[in-house]
């Protein structure tokens, strides 16, 4: 299959997965001070990408735009499953509401959490 289709189908599935998990989390958790749904999705997706890279390639396949599994799962599925734009908008909204405590907690957990979970996934079974 052409590279473009692999990227698009992986990305479409990732976005739908993010939406469904987000809806499920919102339904099954209490309202918190910080927006937890996308936080959990981003952390899980980063863990998934770390595990995937370790198991498939045992390295970060930087610039490997010819590897089909990387296009489908790396750029496509995990790339689209996680999101940065919602993080930015939710943070900007907390800023508008002047909720400084939740704001810094949300930023820290999202960024440090995603990097840490990626690292955990990537090094766990090294």
């Amino acid at each position: 299959m052409s590279h473009v289709y692999l990227v698009m189908i992986g990305g479409g599935l990732g976005a739908v997965g993010r939406y469904l998990l987000g809806v499920w989390i919102k339904k099954n958790t209490k309202q918190r001070l910080i927006p937890t749904a996308m936080l959990i999705v981003n952390i899980l997706g980063s863990l998934g990408l770390g595990l995937f890279f370790q198991f498939m390639y045992a390295e970060i396949p930087y610039g490997a735009y010819e590897i089909k599994s990387y296009l489908f799962f790396g750029i496509g599925f995990f790339g689209a499953f996680t999101t940065f734009s919602t993080f930015s908008v939710e943070t900007a909204t907390l800023m508008q509401k002047k909720k400084w405590g939740p704001l810094f907690l949300y930023i820290f957990l999202s960024i440090a959490g995603s990097i840490f979970m990626f690292l955990l996934g990537f090094t766990l079974f090294q």
Partner: protein, 136 residues
């Protein structure tokens, strides 16, 4: 209700596929630039676009199917946190803590700032149009 839900999922799938395609195409274009420019551009532009959409939706009527397709699908698929995490780790191995700090700061503060500006711009636009009676 179920049918509506089906259309929303289809819309998110299509939006996500297109957003991811654009992210991939930009990555290819900037592959020879300084790493990791691609993800940085996508995350900044996507934050701005979602900001515009969010500001608009807060103040005007917007079809739910289009809203989810563009917001959750396109902007969500165009931007990425998992690649940001991988880029950060890769950058830390290849470069130094200074470069990592710059990458994270620009992503973080740039993304939040652009989302904020996008929301403010579209909010001002809608309120102006409402005054003129052009939008409901």
């Amino acid at each position: 209700m179920m049918k509506q839900h089906g259309y929303i999922i289809l819309s998110i799938f299509l939006g996500g596929a297109l957003g991811t395609l654009f992210r991939y195409l930009i990555n290819l274009q900037v592959a020879t630039w300084i790493f990791p420019m691609g993800t940085l551009i996508e995350n900044l532009v996507g934050s701005f676009l979602l900001g515009i959409l969010t500001g608009y939706i807060l103040h005007a009527q917007f079809p739910p199917i289009l809203k989810e397709g563009l917001g959750v699908g396109f902007c969500g698929g165009f931007t990425t946190m998992s690649t940001l995490a991988a880029d950060t780790f890769f950058l830390a191995e290849q470069s130094n803590i200074g470069t990592v700090s710059v990458y994270l700061s620009v992503s973080l503060f740039g993304g939040i700032f652009l989302a904020f500006v996008g929301m403010a711009l579209s909010t001002a636009f809608v309120l102006h149009k409402k005054k003129a009676g052009d939008v409901q």
